[in-house]
């Protein structure tokens, strides 16, 4: 399996609900980043969390990191139709290249 894997592969929720997606990885990391990709577009950086951090917030986004379980979660609160996109985690080890997971496809229904 891959270094970074998101779970679930696909998620459908109603507008206003919270969306949670998870990322698991295999080796120790320096930081972990979450990216969003709208259909037909490039990836856009959302948030970076370093290995010595446990939680980070940015607007409606909350990211947690549990290095003992080698996992991270991305929570989007009060979701909107515009949040419909694919979400990727990227794990980064210093001096190494980014490793992206296959992504979670989020659909927010009006």
């Amino acid at each position: 399996s891959q270094q970074g894997e998101e779970d679930p592969q696909a998620l459908s929720i109603q507008e206003g609900e919270n969306a949670t997606m998870n990322c698991s990885y295999k080796t120790s990391i320096n930081n972990l980043q979450w990216y969003r990709q709208n259909s037909g577009r490039g990836l856009v950086h959302l948030i970076l969390i370093r290995s010595n951090e446990r939680e980070k917030h940015s607007g409606r986004l909350r990211v947690t990191l549990d290095t003992s379980k080698k996992s991270s979660s991305l929570l989007i609160t009060a979701s909107r139709a515009a949040d419909t996109a694919s979400y990727f985690c990227a794990t980064i080890l210093y001096g190494q290249n980014f490793v992206f997971g296959p992504g979670t496809r989020l659909s927010v229904l009006p």
């Binding site: 320096n30 490039g42 990836l43 950086h45 290249n97 992206f100």
Partner: protein, 114 residues
């Protein structure tokens, strides 16, 4: 997509023909990357550059070559395209050393090899 353009945005070619994709940045970032994106695989790194004329291989470099003669341009060449190289190709840039900085992505190039 700020400051990063890719050309062409779409291309259809035949097996065995050479193809060159171009990435152009106006951010003066040192690092540039080429990824391919395929269903079920996320993004996989093909090649990257850490300066003019300085490049290195990524995870899936076979069948691809790159060149960087100027800070702003990073070219990806498929010497003899194969159907397995049908994919969406993304260029990315980052300002500083690998692993510590955010990457910024271009809009992508859809390549179909018949």
């Amino acid at each position: 997509d700020a400051g990063i353009t890719q050309s062409p945005r779409h291309k259809v070619t035949e097996t065995g023909t050479p193809v060159t994709l171009r990435c152009h940045q106006t951010e003066n970032h040192r690092y540039m990357y080429w990824y391919r994106q395929d269903p079920g695989h996320g993004l996989r790194l093909i090649h990257y550059s850490y300066g003019v004329k300085d490049t290195d291989k990524g995870e899936v470099s076979d069948g691809y070559s790159v060149s960087r003669s100027k800070t702003e341009d990073f070219l990806l060449t498929l010497e003899s395209a194969t159907s397995s190289q049908t994919s969406v190709y993304f260029c990315a840039i980052s300002e500083s050393h690998i692993g510590q900085e955010t990457q910024y992505f271009g809009p992508g190039t859809r390549l179909l090899v018949l």
